[in-house]
């Protein structure tokens, strides 16, 4: 049995995983990163639009600060987020983006003077301040009050991953590429590492670590139409779920992005709309203002996606052999803007649609995009139920996104959580109380169990085809657990997914070889993915309200009285459904008590505690009027939740520190 | 040396021994010798082609190089000196260029395989540059040896006799093709290698350079072939008087030695 020992095992080489490993390494702990693919090929690469951080450099971002970012994020989440975590996040995001600037990310910069932008379909001239010249620029994104999204042309994720990946190499952190974690090694209360399969030779190795962190990204491939990469299959989520000890939070919260190109599902960034692009229907009519007069195309993603599907249902879609779609019109932005600031979009349209987006309309339809749910953690990033297991990034439910995450908040989360959780992992490793004496028997037992499962698949004379099961699962999820959900559809989905799960135990391989066999990979993954799909579908069926991206046609209202709580799913070995528990969100501790989001439907059922908390909040607001920091401390203290070196205010043009350095 | 890397993160370069500056210099020398040789060849081709303007024209040019119009009499030794300089350049150039040759059969085979698969013009052109360079080793040597040792035997009849009656024309034919292909590609490569003339649209520049390169090669080949034909024609006409030296009518009475 091969065993690798390290202080910190990071599963996942995307932005979150890399940043966590760097944090741990810089604190003196050895870290090993596992990744299915070379880390710079992780799906973080695909983020085009940008990263939110309240710098307020551009004129349209003037007045932006942590408080505005906080409110946007909580409203975006439809009050599903953990507000303390959101506070930690919004305060660290400017630091994260500035760190990345120092690490070499070529953020697009502000140019002083006049420039023409498209706002609401109109050309408008805005004038950037002299004192902002050369600082990082921000663009408009859905669901935000201010222009807050920092960007690198439209290759933001690429540039970030490049810089963070390079720093990881510079820090000498080994990345074991083409390695797949198959199971966590644990004793029900403490995690000791993972059983890992080498995708080149098929061998299993035990990685034993003081701290294990999951940063495996999203699970978009549960769906047929998704913007996610083909490796986003949720295996990391499944690792936690199959442990039986760690829980997954809010898996039913799945985001659909308004503009996947049709029919391939490849994303064109929200930046298209942020920069002034419009959505049009079969008649060439701009329909979003009819539904959302205030935010129009730039309401939050869940709202825009639903409005688009609603409009298609009204017969206003553009027919095609593959089904109906709508148009995204960016021609009004002009060739120069498209070829510089939206270059990736230009290339995608050119290569995959064969059109020129400076002249032609782009066929789009909403596609699965983001997994809000994930491994439930405390604000430190550690699982509350499985000690030594951490999670960050899209795979985690840290929970700053609640039921809908804002564009640009996700790559921001990866690096911010990477910084914060990385520090806590280092603290965890520093603590002598967390040393362990691991019986090798336990490690052996886990490795042998995984080996036996693989051997059984290879030897199986089963009749089920893994690819076919997977395709069917993706079909069900897209058709029945999609943007609009109903109890009946969801019941059918759960029932059929259960059948598929049963059938997946009878998979037979056409090419039964043990080594680097792609069919074997599909086979063991589909078994895991089905459990995850069931967790999503069952969670959606049970949650009889609509919140954020989770929309039940039969329960169209948000119901705070019943459902202001987080779904926690665990899976017992051999079960055919997850066990669901609920963790209530405490209104008494909310800085922003539940209310209307400012877009979307206005009717919701209030929680009985909301008015009381609202009164408290209003009182404090009068008391501390004029001092936003004092007010904030009174409303929701969070400083002690942050690692010491990440505390502190953020300097802005309009909030200068003066010559002396950091303010308290 | 105190490199800034001694104060930067990451595995330090600070302890490393300072790298030799030689590769940089050799690269520049290789290009410089190539450039001078190529420009020399342009001149060379014009001078030898003076035969197309008539025997007298060529005679005049020849004598000019021998210092006849400065000193009042011919010193073929001057030519020898020029030849020696060229030989030196050529040796240096060749010695440096050989470093780029495939060092064994496996490398050669790999390159050829790659070239066939890629069907990419610049990749193929390098192969021809290599082949012609290799050929130039052998083809240029006798010619230069001849010019070095017998600089006096250059002239309308002398050269024509050599080309025809002493059977040098097959060598010249090969040499002509080799040197024109090699020099043409070489000049183009020099421009892209050092980024000369890149301008605001380097891809367009490169297209234009490539076109120019082909035009020059074709032009000099045509010129060279015509010249060779002229020598051959004169050589055939003069075949029965091999060894007779040319004396222009203008200088005939007194100048004959």
């Amino acid at each position: 049995m091969k065993v690798v020992y390290t202080d910190v095992l990071v599963i996942g080489g995307g932005l979150a995983g890399l940043r966590m490993a760097i944090a741990a390494k810089r604190r003196g702990h050895d870290a090993v990163i596992l990744s299915l693919v070379p880390p710079k090929r992780s799906h973080s690469k695909a983020a085009q639009g940008g990263m939110q951080a309240s710098l307020g450099n551009v004129i349209k971002g003037q007045g932006d600060n942590e408080d505005v970012h906080f409110e946007d994020t909580v409203r975006g989440s439809d009050w599903g987020a953990d507000q303390a975590v959101v506070r930690m996040f919004v305060n660290t995001a400017p630091k994260a983006v500035r760190e990345l600037a120092a690490w070499g990310v070529p953020w697009s910069r502000v140019r002083r003077g006049d420039r023409t932008v498209i706002i609401n379909g109109q050309k408008v001239t805005i004038t950037e301040r002299d004192e902002a010249h050369g600082l990082m620029a921000q663009r408009d994104f859905g669901g935000t009050k201010k222009w807050r999204t920092c960007y690198v042309s439209d290759g933001t994720g690429h540039a970030m991953l490049q810089a963070v990946g390079d720093q990881a190499i510079g820090s000498g952190i080994p990345v074991h590429e083409r390695a797949e974690a198959l199971a966590l090694i644990h004793d029900g209360g403490r995690c000791y590492g993972a059983v890992v399969r080498d995708l080149i030779d098929g061998e299993l190795t035990a990685y034993v670590a003081k701290a294990t962190a999951i940063a495996t990204g999203g699970a978009g491939r549960l769906y047929r139409v998704t913007t996610n990469a083909v490796i986003c299959e949720g295996i990391g989520h499944a690792l936690a779920l199959e442990s039986g000890a760690a829980a997954l939070g809010n898996m039913e919260a799945v985001q659909f992005h308004p503009t996947g190109i049709f029919p391939a599902g490849i994303l064109v960034t929200e930046g298209c709309r942020g920069d002034g692009g419009l959505l049009k229907d079969v008649d060439g009519h701009r329909f979003m203002p009819d539904y959302e007069p205030e935010k129009k195309e730039l309401a939050s993603r869940d709202v825009v996606s639903r409005r688009m599907e609603e409009h298609i249902r009204k017969g206003k879609g553009v027919g095609s052999r593959f089904g109906d779609h709508l148009w995204l019109d960016i021609t009004l932005l002009g060739e120069k803007h498209i070829k510089t600031n939206l270059r990736e979009v230009f290339e995608i349209c050119h290569h995959f649609l064969g059109i020129d987006p400076t002249k032609d309309l782009v066929a789009v339809r909403p596609a699965q995009h983001y997994t809000m749910g994930g491994v439930r953690t405390k604000p430190t990033g550690e699982s509350p139920t499985l000690k030594g297991l951490f999670a960050a990034g899209e795979a985690a439910c840290w929970d700053m996104h609640g039921f809908n995450r804002l564009g640009g908040n996700s790559v921001a989360e990866t690096v911010v959580a990477g910084m914060i959780v990385g520090e806590f992992i280092a603290d965890f490793c520093d603590d002598p109380g967390n040393e362990f004496n691991l019986p090798t028997g336990l490690v052996r037992e886990f490795v042998e169990r995984e080996q036996a499962k693989l051997d059984a698949l290879v030897a199986s004379r089963g009749t089920e085809d893994a690819s076919a099961l997977k395709a069917r699962m993706q079909e069900i999820m897209t058709a029945k657990v999609g943007i609009f959900r109903t109890g009946r559809d969801l019941e059918e989905a759960v029932a059929e997914l259960q059948q598929l799960l049963a059938r997946s135990r009878n998979i037979g391989l056409r090419t039964p070889s043990p080594g680097p066999n792609p069919e074997l990979v599909t086979a063991y993954r589909v078994q895991k993915m089905l459990k995850l799909a069931l967790t999503v579908a069952y969670g959606a069926l049970t949650r009889t309200e609509s919140r954020g991206a989770h929309f039940r046609e039969d329960h169209p209202r948000r119901d705070d009285a019943q459902w202001l709580k987080r779904t926690l799913a665990t899976w017992r070995d051999g079960a055919s459904l997850p066990e669901l528990n609920y963790e209530p969100l405490d209104i008494a501790k909310m800085e922003l008590p539940p209310g209307w989001r400012g877009y979307g439907a206005k009717d919701y059922v209030d929680h009985p505690d909301t008015p009381r908390r609202q009164a408290e909040v209003d009182a404090l607001k009068t008391q501390y009027a004029g001092d936003r920091f004092a007010l904030q401390r009174a409303l929701l203290p969070y400083d002690d939740l942050l690692p010491a070196r990440l505390r502190g205010r953020n300097e802005r043009i309009d909030e200068p520190f003066g010559g002396t350095g950091r303010a308290a | 040396m105190d490199t800034s890397s001694s104060i930067v993160t990451g595995a330090g370069l600070a302890d490393a021994v300072r790298k030799s500056r030689l590769p940089a210099r050799l690269d520049v020398v290789q290009s410089a010798t190539g450039l001078v040789l190529a420009l020399f060849m342009w001149g060379h081709m014009f001078f030898v082609s003076s035969i197309l303007l008539g025997k007298d024209a060529m005679w005049t040019i020849t004598k000019m190089f021998e210092g006849y119009f400065i000193f009042g009499r011919a010193y073929p030794g001057i030519v020898s000196v020029v030849v020696a300089v060229i030989v030196l350049l050529l040796v240096v150039h060749a010695a440096l260029a050989v470093r780029k040759f495939p060092i064994n059969y496996r490398q050669l085979r790999t390159y050829r395989g790659h070239m066939k698969l890629m069907r990419h013009e610049d990749t193929t052109l390098w192969y021809w540059q290599f082949v012609t360079g290799f050929a130039l080793f052998f083809l240029a040597a006798p010619h230069l040896f001849q010019m070095l040792t017998q600089p006096g035997l250059i002239g309308p009849y002398e050269s024509s006799d050599r080309v025809w009656s002493y059977h040098w024309w097959p060598l010249y034919l090969l040499l002509l093709f080799a040197v024109e292909v090699h020099g043409g590609v070489g000049l183009y490569r020099l421009a892209v290698k050092w980024g000369w003339f890149a301008g605001s649209n380097p891809d367009a520049t490169r297209r234009r350079l490539k076109a120019l390169k082909w035009a020059l090669t074709v032009f000099f080949l045509a010129l060279g072939l015509a010249t060779l034909a002229a020598y051959i024609r004169i050589g055939i006409e003069h075949a029965d008087r091999v060894g007779e030296r040319y004396v222009p009518a203008s200088v005939q009475p007194g100048a004959v030695k």
Binding site: K45, G104, S513, L646, R662 | S4, A11, A198, P202
Partner: protein
């Protein structure tokens, strides 16, 4: 570049067909893929042919996935983003390195020969270990921003940078480490120690970056030899196959000039 045969990936075929077209009436295509498992001693490289119906807008990603799902589940290849941005799927398509995921079968068919990217360790069939190569290259060239050790004060306003400079750096930062330039370079093929265009481009990128404290003497230590910039024979295959159209020709020339200047100081 138009002076060359356009690489297949640059051709544009409209996805939405003329009215009345049926899905899958695009005719038959034949994919000839190299099969080879280097870990199996009794195994020799060979081409295996798969025939399939061409669908509208079919890319090699779609075609190969279909082959794996319906015909041969053992065929190995690598796709991640399937959108031309991650650099995983580079392979030799009808003789030229390119990104398979954004190559439309119509543009290269009906007979499509696929070989794994040469110059990299072969994992099996069409899958090669570009990641390992790139990591080694990055370590060798110290391809990361070298900062002053003093800890940054992250609470303060960021350092300014001219917008044009940021754009110039991004232009070079767009490399997706796909390896096409390496596979397309006759020099690397002959001499494996040669850094290749991807590495030289990185040097140009970090040299441009004011946040990197290194100077030309430092860069000379990394690429000032015949395995570095002076080994490049200006074949420009790299430039012509780079799927991101990086300005490799001018960047390599630029690094050469700067490094040559160091040689004469």
């Amino acid at each position: 570049m138009s002076m060359f045969r356009p690489t297949a990936t640059h051709k544009v075929i409209p996805l939405v067909p003329a009215d009345g077209a049926q899905p899958g009436n695009g005719g038959r295509i034949r994919v000839h893929a190299m099969r080879y498992n280097p870990r199996d001693p009794g195994n020799a490289p060979r081409l295996q042919t798969y025939e399939l119906e061409q669908a509208e807008g079919m890319t090699l990603f779609i075609a190969l996935s279909e082959i794996r799902e319906k015909q041969d589940p053992s065929l190995q290849f690598d796709f991640v983003c399937r959108a031309g941005i991650c650099g995983s799927c580079a392979m030799v398509i009808n003789g030229r390195p390119g990104l398979a995921c954004r190559t439309l079968t119509k543009a290269v068919g009906p007979d499509i020969t696929l070989l794994p990217l040469p110059g990299f360790e072969l994992i099996g069939d069409l899958s090669v270990n570009t990641g390992k190569w790139m990591r080694a290259m990055s370590e060798r060239l110290e391809a990361w921003v070298h900062m002053k050790e003093a800890e940054l004060d992250l609470t303060r306003i960021e350092a300014r940078m001219e917008p044009e400079l940021a754009e110039q750096i991004y232009e070079l930062d767009r490399c997706i480490e796909c390896g096409c330039c390496v596979a397309g370079c006759g020099t690397v093929r002959m001499r494996e120690a040669f850094v290749g265009a991807v590495g030289l481009n990185k040097i140009a990128r970090f040299r441009l970056d004011p946040r990197d404290t290194r100077d030309d003497d430092d860069f000379y230590e990394l690429v000032g030899d015949d395995d570095g910039v002076f080994g490049c024979m200006s074949l420009l295959g790299c430039h012509d196959v780079c799927p991101k159209q990086l300005p490799l020709a001018t960047q390599i020339a630029f690094v050469r000039r700067k490094m040559a200047a160091v040689g004469f100081r």
